[in-house]
């Protein structure tokens, strides 16, 4: 089987400068094609920069925006995942990742989980998506696309894998923080992400492709370290931290089959059990307005 060539575009977008970022994406797609890439992945909000605040509305595009169609034309012969501020018909703004194939926008994933804590303030500026679906692709397999924080929720990679994805793609603008010598590569964020990525790849027996941006917006440094993880959970490739680069990684899609035959975790998943228990848990939530367990004195905790 011909290897699949993945291009990780670990770029540093310019904050709010849509035209420059579009041009940069276009050049990168051209370079990726010359290098024989099949799948090109750009980081979260690569077309706009991350820390937009009130600029979000000024750089928003509809999914049918001709500028995206232009990028789709640049991606002809390949699959490309690009990310931008999407304005819906009803003028809600989403952080979206689009799959571009055969000259058109084939699929759009709207970021489901908007971190609004710590240094994040996404819910203030954006609406949360509410569809979680894998998508067919010209690569002959299904892809699962997620944006950054989506991968901090277990159900996302699980659902995408159950929906048939064999490559899970996460596009990120992950701010580097929690510097401490005890962390792998000195950065708490990087250590956490690496743990997640390897775990998801192994548990879903899928490839995980992580493209994280570099550069700075305001006070925030994005750490890069984009990766491709094999279905066995082993890293196939890890990009340098903080440096821009277009990295090519060849993978054998046959590894998915091999792993899933040898380790049939997906075969053994029990989604109907999960669903049944989720229904029960959700039904129980209606009478959980007051958290009795924590209010009750010791020894009198309500059994639930």
């Amino acid at each position: 089987m011909q290897p699949l060539r993945i291009a990780l575009a670990q770029l540093a977008p310019r904050l709010g400068v849509l035209d420059d970022n579009l041009a940069r994406h276009s050049e990168t797609l051209t370079a990726a094609r010359s290098a024989g890439a099949d799948l090109v992945v750009f980081p979260e909000l690569g077309l706009t920069g991350y820390q937009l605040q009130d600029l979000a509305a000024e750089v928003a595009m509809r999914a049918d925006d001709p500028r995206l169609a232009g990028l789709a034309a640049d991606a002809a012969g390949m699959s490309a995942v690009v990310s931008f501020v999407e304005e819906a018909a009803d003028h809600r703004l989403f952080i979206s990742a689009a799959l571009l194939e055969d000259g058109e926008v084939r699929f759009v994933h709207r970021k489901l989980f908007l971190p609004t804590y710590g240094l994040f303030d996404e819910r203030r500026f954006f609406a949360a998506g509410d569809l979680l679906r894998a998508t067919d692709s010209r690569l002959g397999i299904r892809l699962g696309i997620a944006v950054c924080e989506d991968f901090w929720h277990l159900a996302v990679p699980e659902t995408l894998a159950l929906d048939g994805a064999q490559i899970l793609i996460n596009v990120s603008s992950s701010p580097g923080r929690d510097l401490a010598a005890i962390h792998e590569v000195g950065l708490g964020t990087a250590a956490s992400w690496r743990t997640l990525m390897r775990t998801y790849a192994q548990l879903t027996t899928s490839f995980v492709v992580f493209c994280n941006r570099v550069g700075m917006d305001e006070t925030i440094s994005f750490w890069g370290g984009s990766e491709v993880i094999a279905p066995s959970g082993e890293a196939v490739f890890t990009a340098p931290l903080f440096d821009e680069g277009l990295h090519f990684v060849d993978v054998e899609l046959g590894d998915v089959r091999r792993e899933r035959i040898g380790l049939p975790l997906l075969r053994d998943e029990r989604p109907e059990l999960h669903l049944r228990e989720l229904r029960r848990i959700l039904a129980g939530r209606t009478d959980m307005a007051i958290d009795q367990a924590s209010e009750a004195p010791d020894g009198e905790k309500a059994g639930r």
């Binding site: 009130d54 600029l55 580097g176 401490a180 010598a181 590569v185 931290l241 903080f242």
Partner: protein, 335 residues
């Protein structure tokens, strides 16, 4: 006025002892923390580094250097300047700026007052020589004396200024330096790099609109102990790292005497209190003395205003900082 300014009279308690890992030298702090005595100076470790504060100095350096480049580029500047005191904070920033944009694009301004320690200027010169950057010496004595008076001659401040306490004079000096620095920034065509660290920012040990004034600050999220760690890594001369930190606002002043804390103790307490969100009870259980916890909490709370942009009364539909929220650097914001 004293509570919003540098220096606080009447401090007595000190943080002593500490919890797990307290008081350790740097030996076990991991591969990145190796401030062993170099050829330049005496025996023993250069400084004490609490293990939990040890960072990957190279990652920190890369982030700060990138930050400096980015701040300048986005503002449309290629040059920077800073006030070089002879202390470790401004020395580290000078090394970082030199790495970011090259020493030829950096100006260090030395601004001694007549009572400043001659050692301070000598140490600043050491940094300038080491980096090979431009420097400028401005004696701020006539500015400060022009206001407070000198040797019985009255100054512009009149009788109210004549017998000013060292604290007022110190704050005035810090602000005079800010005036000089911002004036020279026009001449040099560069932005003013800030040199305040996280420890002094959190406890409010800085002069509002004085030493805290800057266009950007690369080291403002590093505790003093971490400043020392990166400074050692990046090649700041060892005698600058080893000497007792001082605002040098009056002869013999040292930060640690004035505050009643040692930096490693204070840094550890702030780290667990602020970064790791430990409650007072948890901090006490870790071995921090109750009075020290209470006092540091108070210092942090009363200096909140120093760390924030002055508030604007909300009147119109969109108010800066409230519901008009734009990045400082955005399309069109470069000069």
């Amino acid at each position: 006025m004293s509570s919003d300014e540098k220096g606080e009279p009447g401090r007595s308690e000190s943080v002593s002892g500490g919890g797990p890992g307290a008081g350790g030298g740097v030996g076990g702090a991991g591969p990145e923390a190796g401030p062993e005595a170099g050829p330049e100076a005496g025996a023993g470790p250069m400084f004490e580094l609490p293990p939990e504060l040890a960072i990957d100095a190279d990652v920190a350096r890369r982030v700060m250097v990138g930050f400096i480049r980015n701040q300048l580029r986005q503002a449309g500047f290629g040059r920077a300047l800073l006030g070089l005191s002879g202390g470790i904070d401004s020395a580290l920033v000078a090394f970082l700026v030199a790495q970011a944009i090259g020493p030829e694009s950096m100006l260090c301004v030395l601004m001694p007052y007549r009572t400043s320690s001659p050692e301070s200027v000598n140490h600043a010169r050491l940094v300038v020589d080491r980096l090979g950057c431009a420097s400028d010496l401005v004696d701020i004595s006539p500015i400060v004396d022009g206001y407070f008076g000198r040797d019985g001659d009255g100054g512009a401040g009149g009788a109210a200024a004549r017998d000013a306490a060292p604290l007022r004079r110190g704050n005035f000096m810090a602000r005079a330096r800010m005036c000089v620095l911002y004036d020279r920034s026009v001449l040099w065509g560069g932005l003013v790099a800030g040199t305040g660290n996280k420890t002094e920012s959190l406890i409010g040990y800085s002069t509002l609109f004085g030493d805290s004034a800057c266009a950007f600050n690369p080291i403002g999220d590093l505790y003093k102990s971490q400043v020392r760690q990166v400074a050692a890594e990046i090649g700041v001369p060892e005698l600058i790292i080893r000497k007792a930190p001082s605002a040098d606002l009056w002869p013999g002043q040292t930060d640690e005497d004035e505050a009643g804390f040692s930096y490693p103790e204070l840094d550890r307490l702030l780290f667990w209190m602020i970064d790791k969100r430990r409650t007072d009870e948890e901090l006490a259980a870790m071995g921090f003395p109750g009075p020290a916890i209470a006092r540091v909490k108070r210092l942090v709370a009363v200096s909140e205003f120093k760390r924030q942009v002055p508030p604007v009364a909300k009147l119109g539909p969109r108010t800066t900082g409230v519901d008009y929220l734009y990045p400082r650097r955005r399309p069109g914001s470069a000069r």
